[in-house]
């Protein structure tokens, strides 16, 4: 994607050269909007360093805008700052701050409307309601931006990168913090979310709905109010991400709701209240992930089927798996469970007796959450021990028939 | 000195003391006698305030026992079984009691030296024999030269030499005008000490007489003979009344 847009950019640049594209230098006392209006398509504007104190700048033609030393544009907590309503716009190295807040318009630092082939790169976007907002856009690249806010509550705030009805986006290498959602995708298809760091957002690090055939990988999601939510989507690939310390009363590393035909692989889930919460999801391949020190590694509702969990490591979780039903139509195999205390007589690295990852106490708390008040009491320890000897309450289909006796090297 | 009026105490259905009336004066050495379970220890403990009476009143030097704990400074008590915290030394036990009784600065330490406890003062209570512990109890009872001594089986478990020493001490104190109340099974030990005999049976006061009176009525001179005679002749007669 990056390469594609780079080529595009180079092509455009050539076209611009051919069209005798001009380069304009802009100072902070100049009105940028006026310069833009005068410039020809394909022109380059070089913005000098300084406080521009300008806002509501609308770009309606292909332009290249490059800031030197991060020229600052300010919305004074009242206005939007940049609106891009043209294709082939390239913006780099500017700082945008203090957008307004409105219940009628989603105010953004940089908003893309019906645009394609737009690149926003290396910008700093501070204290905006929405950082970068993409609406009905295609083939755009949002890269290496720092989008930072300090939102206090969900209602009053917006998202770091917000995309609605888009296709073929690349969101890469951005740092997103302090928004409602770090990245928000709704009806966005065939896109990539890569190597972003999303942390300290009030709600989700990544919020993802009706967005098919997307891939997100190498991202780090940490300390978000509720982790990452992926909903009503098929064909998502989630790989090599790190989900860390999404810890709170209603926090998950990933919340999966109505997801199908997807992959969760090579991720690390560390210290989350719930590693994966899965509801109404089918045909997901969960493999080679590490679940460590989570409250619940996974909560799998009975509405999930045909999912496969294999070759994962489960280490130091309070509960490995919890479920709300007795039916279990998913497959667990070849996982390493640190709580497994079976034996391996033939020394093939696979335990000879199955492992039941749902403890009796976890069954009880799932049915009656109030019973959680007895967490870590002597009684519940005894109950779990007794259940191990003579299982009667735990769902007996939920088991790993071939548990590993040694950790996977992941 | 000690006045007991209508003292009654029962443990459940068992009546340990039944309407006891007694008066004891200074200079008396009273031997408290009676079979096991006759109420001797309950009587002693009532005087000490360890047992709370059901009915009746005990006054000591006009202080009512139940209302005022200060009277106990006038009493030296030697319990039947002396048990002390295991890891305290003899020295610490004595020091502790001295510290509790801040009102005193003069101590009667005759028995401590007499028993040779000063030479073993760093021994812990746990390591002591029953007899030695008994000696510690005796020393504590006499430490503050009280006006009243209450000694529960004082000579039990003591070697003859120590027993003799203790008896001499009792005689001396009685001569000094103190009131001594002793329970003992070894009647010969009370020879020459006891001036009065109180006899309890089943919680009832059978008699309270001077030794001379009893000697006269029985015609015996040795104390154990006197008592044996009394038990044979007088007590059955009393019971039938």
């Amino acid at each position: 994607m990056f390469i594609r847009s780079t080529i595009l950019f180079v092509l455009l640049f050539c076209v611009a050269l051919l069209a005798d594209a001009a380069t304009h230098r802009v100072q902070m006392n100049q009105n940028l909007q006026a310069v833009i209006n005068k410039a020809a398509s394909g022109d380059t504007l070089l913005l000098s360093k300084g406080n521009y104190n300008q806002h509501s700048i609308i770009i309606q033609k292909p332009l290249t805008i490059i800031g030197e030393g991060y020229p600052v544009f300010d919305g004074f907590k009242k206005y939007e700052v940049f609106i891009v309503a043209a294709n082939n716009v390239f913006i780099k190295g500017i700082q945008v701050q203090n957008t307004g807040r409105s219940s009628l318009v989603d105010m953004a630092g940089i908003k893309l409307q019906d645009a394609s082939n737009v690149t926003i790169t290396d910008c700093k976007i501070f204290n905006t309601t929405y950082g970068i907002y993409l609406q009905n856009s295609k083939n755009c690249t949002i890269q290496n931006n720092e989008v930072r806010a300090s939102a206090k509550d969900e209602l009053q705030s917006g998202n770091g990168v917000h995309a609605w009805k888009c296709d073929a986006l690349t969101i890469k290498g951005n740092t997103l913090s302090g928004h409602r959602d770090g990245i928000y995708f709704e009806f966005v298809t065939n896109s990539f979310i890569e190597r972003n760091k999303s942390f300290g957002n009030i709600r989700y690090g990544l919020h993802f709905m009706f967005s098919h055939n997307d891939t997100y990988s190498y991202n780090t999601f940490s300390n978000n109010g509720a982790g990452v939510a992926v909903m009503y989507t098929k064909g998502v690939t989630m790989s090599v991400n790190i989900f860390r310390h999404n810890w709170g009363d209603a926090a998950y590393a990933i919340l999966l709701k109505d997801i199908s035909d997807s992959k969760i692989e090579h991720n690390k889930f560390d210290r989350n209240t719930v590693g994966i919460f899965m509801e109404g999801s089918s045909r997901i391949h969960v493999a080679q992930n590490i679940f460590s020190d989570n409250g619940w590694a996974m909560r799998i509702q009975a509405s999930c089927d045909d999912n496969v969990f294999e070759q994962n490591n489960f280490l130091g979780n309070s509960f490995d798996v919890a479920t709300n039903g007795t039916m279990m139509l998913n497959t667990f195999r070849n996982n390493y469970w640190d709580k497994y205390d079976g034996y391996d007589l033939d020394r093939d690295g696979v335990g000879d007796v199955p492992y039941y990852p749902v403890s009796v106490y976890s069954v009880i708390t799932e049915r009656i959450p109030t019973a959680m008040i007895l967490y870590r009491s002597f009684l519940t320890n005894i109950m779990d021990q007794v259940e191990k000897v003579m299982p009667s309450i735990i769902p007996d289909q939920l088991k790993d028939d071939a548990p590993r006796t040694k950790k996977w090297k992941l | 000195m000690i006045r007991i009026e209508g003292l009654t105490k029962s443990f459940g259905k068992f009546k340990a003391l039944d309407n006891i009336n007694l008066q004891m004066q200074e200079g008396q050495a009273i031997s408290l006698l009676g079979p096991n379970g006759s109420g001797k220890t309950t009587l002693i403990k009532s005087i000490l305030g360890l047992v709370i009476p059901e009915k009746g009143k005990i006054t000591i030097n006009n202080h009512v026992v139940r209302e005022d704990w200060a009277y106990r400074s006038k009493i030296g008590y030697m319990p039947q079984i002396g048990r002390y915290p295991d890891n305290m030394t003899i020295e610490q036990v004595i020091k502790m009691i001295k510290e509790i009784r801040k009102d005193h600065t003069q101590y009667d330490e005759e028995l401590i030296y007499g028993f040779g406890l000063d030479k073993m003062k760093t021994k812990t209570m746990r390591s002591l024999s029953g007899g030695t512990r008994q000696k510690v109890s005796a020393c504590l009872a006499f430490l503050f030269s009280p006006d009243i001594y209450i000694l529960d089986e004082p000579t039990a478990g003591l070697d003859p030499l120590s027993s003799e020493l203790l008896k001499e001490k009792m005689v001396k104190e009685r001569a000094a005008g103190k009131l001594i109340l002793i329970t003992s099974h070894v009647l010969s030990d009370l020879e020459g000490i006891a001036s009065h005999i109180i006899y309890l049976q089943d919680g009832n006061l059978m008699f309270y007489k001077t030794v001379e009176e009893l000697q006269a009525s029985t015609g015996e001179s040795k104390l154990n003979k006197v008592i044996a005679q009394v038990m044979r002749t007088e007590l059955p007669a009393m019971k039938h009344n």
């Binding site: 810890w247 709170g248 009363d249 209603a250 926090a251 210290r271 209240t273 719930v274 020190d293 409250g295 130091g316 309070s318 009880i364 708390t365 049915r367 009656i368 959450p369 109030t370 019973a371 959680m372 008040i373 007895l374 967490y375 870590r376 009491s377 002597f378 009684l379 519940t380 320890n381 | 443990f11 403990k45 000490l48 360890l50 047992v51 709370i52 704990w69 200060a70 106990r72 400074s73 009493i75 008590y77 319990p79 079984i81 002396g82 048990r83 002390y84 915290p85 295991d86 890891n87 305290m88 610490q92 502790m96 009691i97 510290e99 509790i100 009784r101 009102d103 109890s137 504590l140 209450i150």
Partner: protein
Amino acid sequence: MKTIIKYVLLDLLRNKIILVYTIILAVLSISVLNLDSNPSKGLLSLLNVTLLFVPIITILFATIYFFNSIEFTELLLSQPIKRQKVILAEYIGMASSLAAAYAVGVGLPLLFLVSGTESLILVLTGVLLTLIFSSLALLIFVKSKDKTRGIGIALVVALFFTLLFDGLLIAFIYSFSDYPIDQAVIAIIAFNPIDLARVLMLLQLDTSALMGYSGALFKKFLGSATGSIFSISCMVFWVVVPLFLSVRIFRKKDL
């Protein structure tokens, strides 16, 4: 009173059982904290050790001690001292030496290996449990006639609070799960010092989120400082009430 406390302490601090208790606690603490790379988990394991061992050991040791020192108590009572003072002094001496054993056995290793508020709260929890179960032991002592029966009652009380109470609680939760019982459950918890101790400690650790997960009231109650204050005050009640009752009963007890 100070004198008696001093000498009771002097005796108990040289007591072999207390010494062994301290050493066992220290060994357990060090091994548990070294085994777990995650200090929060080490604290949780230590909490389990505390909840399991402190109540039973404290109540048994204290009950036996009070019964064994009956003769000593009598001797003290034959001195011109108030009864209340004697019994209170014995309680303070007893409870503080056991508390010191816990503070040294668990507190010292924590100080060196995982110092922080959580560790402090754990030590506080253990100390409070010690005071509570010493207080209960005193009540058992003043209420029961002989040592054998006293030890029996002590065992039952310890077992009740460690296990039976929670069993009844879970039965209650099970049977009334259709009703909003969160509030009632929190109120019930107040009647078990061991549960209070557990909740108090869990509130200090990340794990509280797991409990908050299960209901809005828990979240509100456990998430705020109110939860900790509630637990601590209830525990203080558990020290004071049995102690007060013991002193009252002891005033009229026949020895």
